[in-house]
């Protein structure tokens, strides 16, 4: 029955084409915060392999901390909640939205407000960090494509920041 109610997203559906970079709102997706002392505990529950190294991503799961992963999956995906196990699965699908930056200036748009060194941030890296005062998660999906996760209510600000820099 979910088609009865429409979703309303915080950022524009129309991409912004800036100088050498396109800013796009990613479509809705399922997100799960996965917590466990060992990656193996999660792998056993979910049947997928989970990266062990902090700051890396594989098959939709990024390792954000020693006991923390974020899983991105197609909209509507459901996974086991791990009841009774010594781990934590929490759905956070609507907590974040994602903004995609693509193009030769994608890294420089991020560098406008993020102190990471993107020359040394390889494809496949994924990390929580901060853009000016707003916490984000940056995933480098390709040399010139970044997926940026941000909490929903900060997304309009981040969109405006990206678009402002992209237009410069």
């Amino acid at each position: 029955m979910s088609e009865l109610l429409a979703r309303i997203e915080p950022t524009p559906t129309v991409p912004f084409a800036g100088n050498g970079v396109t800013v796009t709102s990613a479509p809705p997706m399922a997100r799960f915060s996965l917590r466990a002392r060992k990656a193996a505990d999660l792998e056993k529950l979910l049947g997928v392999s989970v990266p062990q190294k902090i700051g890396t991503m594989q098959s939709g799961v990024m390792c954000l901390g020693p006991d923390e992963w974020l899983m991105l999956a197609p909209d509507g995906t459901k996974i086991a909640d791990g009841a009774g196990l010594s781990l934590a699965v929490t759905e956070v699908s609507d907590r974040n939205v994602a903004i995609l930056l693509e193009g030769p200036r994608a890294a420089s748009v991020l560098a406008a407000g993020c102190a990471l060194d993107f020359d040394h941030f390889e494809v496949g890296r994924a990390t929580r960090t901060i853009f000016e005062t707003v916490e984000i998660i940056v995933v480098r999906e390709a040399a010139e494509r970044f997926h940026v996760e941000v909490w929903r209510s900060f997304a309009p600000w981040l969109w405006t920041a990206f678009v402002t820099v992209a237009a410069e």
């Binding site: 009865l4 109610l5 309303i8 002392r37 923390e68 010594s86 956070v92 209510s153 309009p156």
Partner: protein, 953 residues
């Protein structure tokens, strides 16, 4: 005079004329000129007035060291910029520049009366007077001082420009693109390192720009750099500060030099993290200190050379040089080579290099060794000088229209000092040079003290037969500090260079002492009869040159200043004309006025509707934390004041959170979804604080516990549906949940769907009415809200805002943490004894509740207040006294924390923190307000439905 432009030479584009104005008069310069060079070429020597004495002043330098030539540039509304150094202003077609700190005109300035009276205004004069009569300080003296002080006019309009910022990373950052910096860049470019080369000027080259012999080298070098993909070059960029761990702040000026303004940012802040920093900032020539050294036309020899060879401008037609250093001689020779007439070379030294003498002789330049300038003729410009032997004899006049000073060189160690690198005194240079680095940084070229400018001697004040007490020999030109001011400071007992600086203001002008610090130090050293190294060194502070607020703020302006967080439902409220308030980073609807309603009318209506039918409220901003894991209940039991282990799944509990100091920091209703899963709520402003506090305990105190905390604040939109008809509105929309009172009692949670969307449905109430809080994924918040509005239309469902929420909860005596508590209130003070687990051995903050002052009688306790006059709504924050007739200062026993008109009760209600309040029930207290004292009785905080009958339906 028709002008001083040399017929040939310089790097200006003589094919491109640029017209501009200065103080309303029209001038013509060339592309490549600075405002200074173009005015100088037009015969302008008078550029400004000094800060204190309003003395006429001309150029001293040719770049960032310039102390005198401060001007304002206006380029349309909001684009007025005061205090620019004319030497740093790149000329553009149509520029409108004006001089500053003069009235009515630059040539005739009433303020110059200060100069006549200068003897009464020595350093620190204001410490010694303006004290009588006492009332005159604020009414007369201070306003007069303020009007005289200040340099340029203050801006009056909002700046329409915008500013950019970025981070950047490199392996080697080279600051300064003179020959040493360029060489360093070329060397590094040959590696695979990432290199950034920055320079404050419009062209790379530094000193090489005024040395035509180096131009072929410069061209070759720049081509090589341009061809190196690993080299980023930033011109018109000033590295202004050197911060921890090789973090350098720089500002790039993007549009100020352009005749027509593009849309882009005016300036860009570069925040550069470098593995290695190479400082190649060069050195600044030092003026000499003698009577009349501030006359327009007296300037640094190196500056005259720059004007001649870089800009093709003669600083005079007959120029004299006063030197204590060889470099001045070479500059004079270069000027002569460019066709500038050299009237004489005077050198304070008795002996100079034979080669210099020979060259002067060959050029036919008159030389006076062992002589000093003892006076300068001319007021608005140099007309001639008087020189004498160093023993004061044989005074004679020399006619000239400019006088150059060559007092030796000061390495530019500002950034080195910012980085906390140590400095070593070099007696031969009379200057401090970089010694031991504190970061991965090295200095090259002149700023390292390794450049060969030739020999020289260091003199503090040139020998003169005049009375030293009468000399107008300036050290800090802009701040009008003279040698005798420094001597006065020493005489009055100021011995540290920092004291001397502060007493005289030497080095504290907008040039930050680039030309004055070392001369000041030398004079102090002589006066104290102590070596320079015993007097200390003033600390250089960022920025190297002044930088705009706009650039330092970067993008953080307007919409990008700080995020305003909005819920999914916010747009609906905006469309309905809601009035908002800001709470933490969020904006929340405060009330929903209908036509003609003020806040009170709207809130009264909203309250009425909630109590009588049903109201709807956006509670999405509440903080939410999912606590999951086998030890979840144990953890909450340790964090909260009350017991949590026995809470059954499907039930909710009010949680009260203290800090370890025992004071209330947050509260909220939380639910147990499963044995190992809780859904916590926090206050809106407390969301991040609570999560951080809990993470701290979890990670560092109890790492053995198996549970994890995840913020879900933004995953859920939360709609509160409150009022006797709440269930009826909800029933048609919900599936999978039995809403009956028996199946779903107050303080319970159920999971199911609403309009097909998964929901966590709380049965909770912050209003005292039957109530639900509907949690759904955030993106559905507004569309669900609109569905509920449609469903509730037959009950006249009424949206309400935070103000009504506050009134309704106050009627029930529910506290708001942060309003009724203030970080000094314990659970017992707040009357929340019932929320403290008496049997619990420990919880965060428990031990502090046993401290002597916390258990002592007389603490302020939260109570209700009912005014004797029910129509009086006390002001929140009003103070309470027991005896209204006592004199001021009164003994205050508390204050009103919350106060409202209660439409439900038809009277005012209030909550207050009152000393010993819990034992004052029924007693009168007094609230003295201007003009009237209100009387109120202490009461219970629960004003409405004390038995809770309306909840359990």
């Amino acid at each position: 005079m028709t002008g001083y432009r040399l017929p040939t030479g310089g790097r200006i584009n003589r094919a491109a004329q640029v017209t501009f104005s200065f103080d309303g008069s029209s001038f013509v310069g060339f592309e490549g000129d600075t405002l200074a060079s173009a005015l100088l070429a037009s015969g302008v020597q008078l550029f400004g007035r000094s800060f204190k004495y309003h003395r006429p002043r001309g150029l001293v330098g040719s770049g960032s060291e310039e102390p005198n030539a401060l001007i304002s540039v206006s380029r349309g509304p909001g684009r007025f910029t005061p205090n620019l150094r004319a030497t740093n202003v790149d000329l553009y077609q149509g520029m409108e520049a004006t001089s500053q700190n003069r009235w009515p005109s630059l040539k005739f300035d009433f303020g110059a009366i200060n100069d006549r009276l200068g003897m009464f205004f020595p350093a620190g004069f204001y410490n010694k007077t303006f004290m009588w009569p006492r009332s005159f300080w604020e009414k007369l003296y201070e306003p007069a001082i303020r009007r005289m002080a200040g340099l340029g006019q203050a801006p009056t309009e909002v700046d329409p420009d915008h500013y950019a910022a970025t981070y950047a990373h490199c392996d080697v950052l080279i600051i300064g693109a003179g020959p040493a910096g360029i060489d360093a860049a070329l060397e590094a470019a040959a590696t695979n390192k990432r290199i950034i080369l920055i320079d404050e000027q419009d062209e790379l080259g530094g000193g090489a720009l005024s040395d035509p012999a180096l131009w072929p080298w410069l061209d070759r070098s720049l081509k090589a750099l341009a061809a190196s993909p690993n080299v980023t070059v930033l011109t018109r960029t000033t590295a202004f500060g050197y911060f921890h761990d090789n973090f350098i702040g720089a500002v790039e000026r993007l549009t100020d030099h352009l005749a027509s303004m593009p849309d882009g940012p005016r300036e860009k802040l570069w925040r550069i993290r470098a593995t290695e920093v190479i400082l190649a900032q060069g050195a600044i020539e030092r003026p000499l200190v003698f009577d009349g050294n501030d006359t327009p036309g007296v300037m640094l020899a190196s500056a005259a050379k720059v004007f001649a060879l870089r800009y093709g401008v003669a600083v005079g037609q007959s120029v004299a040089l006063m030197a204590s250093h060889d470099s001045g001689w070479n500059d004079a020779f270069a000027l002569a080579g460019a066709g500038v007439g050299i009237a004489a070379i005077i050198d304070v030294r008795d002996i100079v290099d034979e080669a210099l003498l020979a060259k002067a002789n060959a050029l036919g330049i008159e030389v006076r060794l062992g002589h000093s300038v003892i006076g300068v003729r001319g007021r608005l410009g140099v007309k001639g000088i008087t020189v004498a032997r160093n023993d004061g004899t044989a005074a004679s006049d020399i006619t000239c229209d400019a006088l150059l000073m060559a007092g030796g060189w000061t390495p530019t160690v500002h950034l080195w000092s910012h980085s906390k690198g140590s400095l070593a005194w070099r007696e031969d240079l009379g200057a401090f040079v970089p010694d031991v680095p504190n970061e991965n940084v090295r200095c090259v070229g002149a700023c390292a003290g390794t450049w060969n400018f030739g020999a020289g001697v260091v003199v503090d004040v040139l020998p003169t037969p005049k009375d030293p007490a009468r000399l107008k020999a300036f050290v800090d030109f802009q701040n009008d500090v003279t040698a005798k001011d420094i001597k006065l400071a020493v005489r009055e007992g100021f011995r540290s260079i920092e004291h001397i600086k502060r007493y005289t203001t030497n080095g504290m002008a907008t040039d930050q002492g680039k030309t004055s610090n070392l001369n000041g130090l030398q004079i102090a050293s002589t006066a104290l009869n102590k070596p320079v190294t015993d007097i200390g060194l003033t600390t250089f502070r960022p920025p190297y040159t002044p930088q705009t607020f706009g650039a330092l703020a970067g993008h953080a302006k307007g919409a990008l200043f700080q995020p305003t967080r909005k819920t999914n439902i916010d747009s609906w409220a905006e469309e309905q004309g809601a009035v908002f308030e800001l709470v933490a980073q969020w904006r929340r609807a405060r009330y929903f006025p209908k036509a003609g309603e003020d806040m009170l009318a709207a809130v009264n209506r909203e309250c009425r509707m909630v109590r009588s039918s049903v109201g709807i409220f956006d509670a999405s901003t509440l903080g939410k934390i999912e606590v999951v894991g086998p030890d979840a209940a144990e953890f909450l039991n340790r964090m909260y004041t009350n017991p949590w282990k026995a809470l059954e799944p499907g039930r909710c509990r009010y949680g009260l959170l203290l800090k370890e100091d025992g004071f209330i920091t947050d509260d909220g209703v939380s639910a147990r979804l499963a044995p190992d899963r809780f859904h916590l709520t926090t206050t809106t402003g407390g969301a991040a604080r609570v999560l951080n506090l809990m993470e701290d305990y979890l990670q560092t105190e109890w790492p053995d516990l198996n549970l994890w905390l995840t913020s879900t604040s933004e995953h859920y939109a939360v709609i509160a549906l409150q009022g006797p008809n709440a269930r009826k509105v909800l029933e048609p929309l919900v599936e999978g949940i039995d809403l009956s009172a028996e199946a779903f009692p107050h303080m319970a949670i159920r999971e199911g769907t609403i309009c097909g969307i998964p929901t966590r449905l709380f049965r909770v109430s912050f209003t005292g009415e039957l109530g639900y809080e509907i949690n759904v994924p955030s993106a559905y918040g507004r569309t669900l809200w609109e569905r509920i509005m449609a469903e509730g239309a037959r009950y006249d469902i009424t949206p309400y805002g935070t103000e009504t929420m506050h009134v309704l909860r106050a009627e029930k005596g529910f506290i708001i943490v942060g309003q009724d508590t203030d970080g000094t209130v314990t659970p017992f003070d707040a009357g929340l004894d019932w929320a403290v687990g008496k049997k619990k051995a420990d919880f965060v903050g428990k031990r502090s509740l046993a401290r002597p002052d916390i258990v002592a009688p007389g603490r302020k306790q939260l109570v209700g207040l009912l005014t004797d006059d029910p129509s009086i709504v006390l002001e929140e924050g009003a103070q309470i006294v027991a005896d209204p007739n006592q004199p001021v200062p009164m003994k205050m026993i508390g204050h009103v924390t919350s106060s409202y008109w209660s439409e439900t009760l038809g009277r005012s209600i209030a909550m207050a923190l009152v000393e010993g309040g819990h034992s004052k029930m029924g007693q009168d207290i007094f609230v003295p307000m201007p003009g009237k004292t209100h009387v109120a009785k202490v009461s219970s905080m629960v004003f409405y439905d004390a038995e809770g009958a309306r909840l359990n339906v």
